[in-house]
C-alpha cells in the first residue's frame, strides 16, 4: 500500500474559499478513484493561501483484476447461434470455455496501475474544480478554452510513494518540486513523498495545516493580550480568515490612541475586524482596550516593530474617519436625519423609506392602542447603564455587543404613553441610515441610531427600540421583549411582509432578496416569545386601515433596502467603484392573503421542527383555514401532539381515517373544517372573511346528510345510537372548550368518541342496500368527521 500526495500551488487563494476547496478536492478525488474501483484509506486535505493539498493513504499499486464471463449458446445449438455469439464477443471457438454443455466467453481485465489512474485523475480534477469564481490568465488565454482556476495555477506536486505521477495541465508539468514561504524561502524545494511533505514545508516557513495555523494565531493572540494585561476578544471568523491569509502566522499586538475610545466600541471593533482583520482586546473591567492584534505572515527581522507601527497608522486613519463620522452625526438630531429618508427609495413600487417609516409608526402605535402589544409583556432583563463601560461580547456570538440604554422598566406606563413611545421610536428607527457612520458601516444600522437617540435624550425605551428593532435577525438572535421594541419590530416586519406580498415579490427557491423569510420567522418568534395575541390575516391583508400610506412614486431608482443600504448605493454609484448587482426582479404575481398565511405556516414549520413539533400537526391545524393567531395555533398544535401520542388519540385517528375514506368513496365531499377564530380583543374591520368552502356533497343532499338531527326512518342499531349520543355530548363540549381555548379539554371531548366509533365500525354496515339506512349512517360518519375537524384536520396527520 502506497500514499499519494497532490499539491496544487497557485497565486493567493481567497481565504474565504479555502475550506470549501478542501472539501471539493476530497470529493472530486474520491469520485475519480471510485470510477477505477479504487478506494483510498485515510484522506487528508490542507489549504494555505498558496496551496491546496491532498494526501491519500494506503492505495494499492494496481486496481483489482476483473474476469468477466458471458454465457453463450449450448454446444448443441445450431451453428448460426454460435457464429452470432463469436461475432458479439470477438472471440474464436477455441477461446470459448465449455461447461455442462454450455459455451462461455471469459474475458480477463487485468488491473490497471494506480499510477495511471492518478495521472488521468489529476487533470480531470483540476478541470472540473468548482471554484465560486474562476479566471483565465497568461499567454494561453488567447482562447476561451484555456484553463480556469481561482488564481493562476503555478505548480503541481504529484507523488505516489516516492515516484512522480506524470501529468500536464495547461503547460504545467507535475513533479516533486515546490516552493517554501514567499519571502522566507522562495527557492525550490524537493518533496520526497507524502510522508515528508508537511515537515519539509515547515522547515521552509510554511505551516501546511490550516488547523495548526488557527491554533498558532489563537494562542499567540491570547498570549500577546495577556502579556499586555488584557483579554483577547474571541473571534472565530477572524481566526479562520487570518489562517487563510498566512502561511507563517505571527500575531503582533499594537496600541492605538486612547482618544479613539470615545467612539462606540462596536465601531472600533468593526473597523478593526472588517477593514483590517485585527482582533481587539478588553481590559480587566470588560471595556474595550486601546489595543489591536494583527497577524503578520513573516518572522520580521526587527521583531515586528515596523509592522506594528505601519498597522497602527492604518488603523488610526480609519478610526479618525470613524470618530469624525460619529462626532458629525451627533450634531444632527435624528428627526432631521429622518426627514432625509424621503430621498431613499425603499422599493420602486413601495415608495421611499420615509413612506415605510410612516406606515410602521402608525402600525406600531395601533398595535399598542389595540392592546396587542402591552406593557405587561415580559420585561427585558435589566441592562447596563448607557454611557458606562460596555462589556464586549465575543464576536463568535450571532450579533455584536450592544449597549443597553434602557434603565427603566416600562411596566408602569399607561397604554397612551406606551403608544406615544412606540410611535416616536418607529419614526426615528431608520434615521441612522443617512448618518455618516452607517453609511460607512451598514452593519451598524440600528445600533448607531440607539446611540444617537440616547445622546439626544430620548426615552431609554425609545433608544432601545431603535437599537433593537431589526431583531431577531438570525435563529440564535435574542428576541426583543421590551414592549416599545416589540411594537416597532413587529410593525416593521409586518409592514415589510405584507407590502412585498402585495406587489407580488415572493421569495422563490434560494432567492429571497428582501429577506421575507427572515421577517416572517422574526414575527413568529416575537409573537411566541411575548405571547402576543394578534390576528395576522387582517393586518397582512392590509385591511387594518391605520392611515393613508400610499407610496410616493416620484423616485426612479430601484433599491432593495435589505440587500443594499443607502451607503452601499452611494458607493455603487461613485465613479469607478465596484458595481453591486441589483437583485433580479422576481416574478410578480398577485398574491392572496391565504398564500401569505401559507408562507407563515412554512416558516413556522421550519422553526417548530427544530423545537420537536411535528410538521404534519401544524399542517392539520393550518388546514382548518382562518387560524391566524399564532399563539392559539401553537397551543392547539401542542395539545394535538399530546393527544395523538395517546392510545385514545391514535385509535380516534384510525377511526377518523376510516370514516373519511368511506365518505370519500361514497361521494361525500370534504366537509368544511369548522373554523373558530373566536378570539375577541382585535376588532379589526374585515377580520373574518368568509372564505370557507361550502360542503359539496355529491349524490346526497345536505338535508339528507344531517342524519342524527332528524329521527331515522328505521330502527337504528345500538352502536349507531351510541355514536349519535356520544356525538351529541362531544360536539358541544369540544366547541365550548375550543371557544375558551382549552385545547386539552377539546381533545378529551373527542377522546370520548373513540369507543363508540370503534363499536360502530365493528357492528354496523354503512353501505346498507336500504338508502335510508345508508344515508343516515353516512350522515353519522360525517358528523364524526366534522367534530374532529372542529379541532384539527386529521386527514393531514400522518400515521
Amino acid at each position: 500500500m502506497t500514499d499519494f500526495l497532490l499539491e496544487l500551488r497557485s497565486e493567493e487563494i481567497p481565504a474565504r474559499m479555502q475550506d470549501r476547496a478542501r472539501e471539493d478536492l476530497a470529493k472530486l478525488f474520491t469520485a475519480e478513484l471510485a470510477k477505477a474501483g479504487l478506494q483510498p484509506g485515510a484522506l487528508q486535505t490542507y489549504a494555505t493561501p498558496r496551496r491546496l493539498v491532498l494526501i491519500a493513504r494506503d492505495l494499492p499499486a494496481q486496481t483489482a483484476a476483473v474476469s468477466e464471463e458471458t454465457k453463450g449458446p449450448k454446444t448443441s445449438a445450431p451453428p448460426q447461434a454460435l457464429e452470432g455469439f463469436l461475432r458479439k464477443t470477438g472471440l474464436t471457438r477455441e477461446q470459448l470455455v465449455e461447461r455442462d454443455g454450455i459455451l462461455f466467453a471469459v474475458i480477463d481485465k487485468p488491473g490497471r496501475a494506480t499510477a495511471d489512474v492518478l495521472a488521468a485523475a489529476i487533470p480531470a480534477i483540476v478541470r472540473a474544480f468548482p471554484w465560486p469564481k474562476a479566471m483565465r490568465w497568461g499567454a494561453a488565454s488567447t482562447t476561451m478554452e484555456s484553463l480556469r482556476w481561482v488564481r493562476p495555477l503555478q505548480g503541481i506536486v504529484a507523488l505516489f510513494g516516492d515516484g512522480v505521477i506524470d501529468c500536464e495541465i495547461a503547460g504545467i508539468t507535475s513533479g516533486a518540486a515546490t516552493v517554501g514561504h514567499r519571502f522566507h524561502h522562495p527557492h525550490v524545494i524537493t518533496i520526497g513523498s507524502a510522508n515528508d511533505y508537511v515537515e519539509k514545508l515547515r522547515a521552509c516557513h510554511v505551516i501546511v495545516d490550516q488547523a495548526e495555523r488557527r491554533q498558532i494565531i489563537a494562542l499567540g493572540a491570547t498570549m500577546a493580550a495577556r502579556k499586555a494585561g488584557l483579554e483577547l476578544v474571541q473571534d472565530e471568523g477572524l481566526l479562520s480568515e487570518n489562517a487563510g491569509l498566512t502561511e507563517w502566522p505571527v500575531p503582533l499586538l499594537g496600541r492605538f490612541d486612547e482618544a479613539f475610545l470615545e467612539v462606540p466600541p462596536e465601531v472600533i471593533q468593526l473597523t478593526a475586524r472588517v477593514n483590517q482583520k485585527y482582533f481587539v482586546c478588553r481590559s480587566a473591567d470588560g471595556a474595550l482596550a486601546n489595543a489591536f492584534i494583527c497577524t503578520a505572515n513573516i518572522d520580521a527581522a526587527d521583531g515586528g516593530a515596523k509592522i506594528v507601527e505601519g498597522n497602527r497608522k492604518v488603523l488610526a486613519a480609519r478610526l479618525s474617519d470613524a470618530k469624525f463620522f460619529y462626532e458629525t452625526d451627533l450634531k444632527v438630531p435624528l428627526e432631521e436625519q429622518a426627514a432625509k429618508l424621503d430621498r431613499i427609495v425603499f422599493h420602486e413600487k413601495l415608495g421611499t423609506v420615509a413612506d415605510k417609516v410612516d406606515r410602521v409608526a402608525k402600525l406600531a402605535r395601533w398595535l399598542v392602542e389595540e392592546g396587542i402589544v402591552t406593557s405587561s409583556a415580559p420585561l427585558p432583563l435589566a441592562g447596563g447603564a448607557a454611557g458606562g463601560p460596555v462589556p464586549l461580547a465575543d464576536a463568535a456570538s450571532a450579533d455584536g455587543p450592544s449597549p443597553n440604554p434602557s434603565r427603566k422598566r416600562e411596566g408602569d406606563l399607561s397604554r397612551a404613553e406606551l403608544a406615544d413611545l412606540a410611535e416616536r421610536a418607529a419614526r426615528l428607527c431608520k434615521a441612522d441610515l443617512v448618518t455618516g457612520m452607517v453609511g460607512e458601516f451598514p452593519e451598524l444600522q440600528g445600533l448607531m441610531g440607539g446611540y444617537y437617540a440616547a445622546a439626544q435624550g430620548e426615552h431609554p425605551a425609545v433608544a432601545a427600540a431603535i437599537r433593537d428593532h431589526y431583531k431577531p435577525v438570525g435563529q440564535g438572535d435574542d428576541v426583543p421583549t421590551d414592549p416599545v421594541t416589540v411594537a416597532v419590530s413587529l410593525a416593521d416586519k409586518l409592514d415589510t411582509i405584507s407590502k412585498f406580498f402585495e406587489i407580488g415579490e415572493l421569495p422563490t427557491g434560494s432567492k429571497d432578496p428582501f429577506a421575507l423569510r427572515r421577517a416572517a420567522l422574526g414575527i413568529a418568534r416575537l409573537i411566541q416569545q411575548n405571547q402576543i395575541r394578534i390576528q395576522l390575516r387582517p393586518i397582512l391583508a392590509g385591511q387594518v386601515m391605520i392611515g393613508d400610506a400610499s407610496p410616493d412614486m416620484h423616485e426612479i431608482v430601484r433599491i432593495s433596502f435589505w440587500s443594499q443600504t443607502w451607503a452601499e448605493i452611494q458607493h455603487a454609484y461613485a465613479w469607478g467603484q465596484p458595481h453591486n448587482a441589483y437583485p433580479e426582479p422576481l416574478e410578480s404575481l398577485p398574491v392572496t392573503v391565504d398564500a401569505l398565511l401559507d408562507f407563515f405556516a412554512d416558516r413556522l414549520k421550519v422553526q417548530q421542527r427544530e423545537a420537536g413539533v411535528r410538521h404534519d400537526l401544524i399542517d392539520a391545524v393550518f388546514a382548518l383555514g382562518g387560524e391566524d393567531d399564532l399563539v392559539r395555533l401553537l397551543a392547539r398544535v401542542r395539545a394535538l401532539q399530546g393527544f395523538v401520542g395517546t392510545e385514545d388519540g391514535a385509535n380516534l385517528l384510525a377511526g377518523y381515517k376510516r370514516a373519511a375514506n368511506i365518505l370519500k368513496k361514497e361521494g361525500f365531499g370534504t366537509s368544511a373544517p369548522a373554523v373558530t377564530p373566536a378570539k375577541a380583543g382585535v376588532s379589526a374591520a374585515g377580520a373574518h372573511p368568509e372564505n370557507h368552502e361550502t360542503p359539496a356533497f355529491a349524490g346526497v343532499t345536505v338535508e339528507e346528510s344531517a342524519g342524527s338531527h332528524t329521527a331515522p326512518s328505521y330502527t337504528p342499531e345500538p352502536a349507531e345510537t351510541a355514536l349519535a349520543t356520544a356525538l351529541d355530548a362531544a360536539e358541544p363540549a369540544a366547541s365550548a372548550a375550543i371557544a375558551r381555548e382549552d385545547f386539552e379539554a377539546a381533545m378529551a371531548a373527542l377522546a370520548t368518541l373513540r369507543a363508540p366509533i370503534d363499536a360502530f365500525f365493528e357492528s354496523v354496515i354503512v353501505n346498507d342496500p336500504e338508502p335510508a339506512k345508508r344515508t343516515a349512517r353516512l350522515g353519522l360518519l360525517d358528523r364524526v368527521r366534522a367534530a374532529v375537524h372542529n379541532v384539527a384536520d386529521f386527514s393531514k396527520i400522518e400515521g
Binding site: E11, E12, P14, A15, R16, P49, K133, M135, R136, W137, G138, A139, A140, S141, T142, T143, M144, V150, R151, P152, Q154, R182, F183, H184, P186, L245, T246, Q276, Y278, C294, A296, N297, I298, A300, A301, D302, K306, I307, E309, G310, N311, K313, V314, L315, A317, R343, I344, V345, E555, I556, V557, I569, Y573, A574, W575, G576, P578, H579
Partner: protein, 303 residues
C-alpha cells in the same frame, strides 16, 4: 529580487523614477500620462483600448487622477481630489507577474522580511468600462498600496489574452516609504520641496471650484456636447476620438456630482449614458482592428 539599501527613503519623484527604471528594465514602454482629466489610470487608452485584442502590450505610466468629490480643501491628510496612480499593464499577463511586482517594491525600498506584504482578495469591476477582473489588493503592513488585477473583460469583451494590471497609489506608497503621516509633508524631491508646496494650493482652489463655483449650467451643456461628439465620432468610425469624448463626459459627470446637482434618480441614467459611450468606443475599436488582428493572429477571434 534585489536588495536595495539606501540611506534615506526615496522622494516622491525619486520613487516614480525608480519605478520607471524598474519597469523599463522589464520590457515596458514608459508612457506619459493621458492629457485629459480622468478618475483612474485604467481610463488611459494604454489600458482600456490596448488591453483589447491579441497583440502583446507592456506599458507603464503615471496617471494623474481626478475625483472631485474626494476634495477636502487641503485639510485632510489622506484625501485629495487630484492624485497620482502608477499604472503597469502587461498583456498577456506574465507567469511571474507577482514576482515582478514584488521586485518593484524592493526597488523602492520595501523589504519584505521587515514589512508584511500580503495579497488579499479584491475583485475589481468598473461598470462604466464594462470591465472586471480578479486579483487582490496588496497590503503592506495593513495598508493597501496596490490594486493587482487580472482583467477578464473590458468594454464587455472577453480578454484574449488576459492582461495583468498593477495600480500603485503613489502618494500612499510614498507616505509609507517616507514614514510621513500627512500627504502634504511628503518630500517631493531630495532638495527640500514638499508635496504640499507643489499641490496644497491646487487642492484648496480646486476643491472650492469643484464644490462651490463650477457653473452647473455650463457643465450640463458640456455633458450633452461630449455625448453628441462621441456619437459623432462613432458614426465616423473613429474609436479613439469617441473614447476621448466618453472620458470627458465622465469627468463632467463627476464634477456635476461634486456640485450636488444630480439626484439619486438621475445619477443612474447619467452613468448608463457614460457606460454606453465607453462601451461603444471599445466596440468601435474592436470593429476597426478585428480584421488586422485576425490576419496576424489566426487563432484569435473577437467573440
Amino acid at each position: 529580487m534585489t536588495d536595495i539599501v539606501t540611506d534615506r527613503p526615496l522622494s516622491f519623484q525619486g520613487m516614480i523614477l525608480k519605478l520607471h527604471e524598474y519597469w523599463s528594465q522589464h520590457g515596458c514602454l514608459i508612457l506619459q500620462a493621458y492629457d485629459m482629466e480622468m478618475g483612474a489610470g485604467t481610463f488611459h487608452t494604454a489600458t482600456t483600448l490596448r488591453a483589447l485584442g491579441p497583440k502583446p502590450w507592456n506599458a507603464a505610466f503615471v496617471q494623474p487622477c481626478r475625483r472631485p468629490t474626494d476634495g477636502r480643501y487641503g485639510e485632510n491628510p489622506n484625501r485629495l481630489q487630484h492624485y497620482y496612480q502608477y499604472q503597469v499593464i502587461l498583456k498577456p499577463s506574465p507567469s511571474n507577474l507577482q514576482e515582478l511586482y514584488l521586485g518593484s517594491l524592493a526597488a523602492i525600498g520595501i523589504d519584505p522580511l521587515v514589512h508584511d506584504i500580503r495579497f488579499v482578495e479584491d475583485d475589481w469591476e468598473s461598470p462604466t468600462l464594462g470591465a472586471w477582473g480578479l486579483g487582490w489588493e496588496v497590503w503592506c503592513d495593513g495598508m493597501e498600496v496596490t490594486q493587482f488585477t487580472y482583467f477578464q473583460q473590458m468594454g464587455g469583451f472577453d480578454m484574449k489574452p488576459v492582461a495583468g494590471e498593477l495600480t500603485y497609489g503613489l502618494e500612499r506608497l510614498a507616505m509609507y516609504v517616507q514614514n510621513v503621516d500627512n500627504v502634504y509633508d511628503l518630500a517631493f524631491n531630495d532638495a527640500g520641496v514638499t508635496y504640499g508646496e507643489v499641490f496644497h494650493e491646487n487642492e484648496v482652489e480646486m476643491s472650492t471650484w469643484n464644490f462651490e463655483v463650477a457653473d452647473t449650467d455650463s457643465l450640463f451643456d458640456q455633458f450633452r456636447k461630449h455625448v453628441a461628439e462621441c456619437e459623432n465620432s462613432l458614426a465616423a468610425k473613429l474609436p479613439i476620438p469617441a473614447y476621448e469624448q466618453a472620458i470627458k463626459a465622465s469627468h463632467v459627470f463627476n464634477l456635476l456630482q461634486a456640485r450636488g446637482v444630480i439626484s439619486v434618480a438621475e445619477r443612474q441614467a447619467y452613468m448608463g449614458r457614460v457606460r454606453d459611450l465607453a462601451k461603444g468606443s471599445c466596440q468601435a475599436w474592436m470593429d476597426k482592428n478585428a480584421e488586422g488582428w485576425k490576419a496576424e493572429y489566426p487563432a484569435w477571434s473577437a467573440a
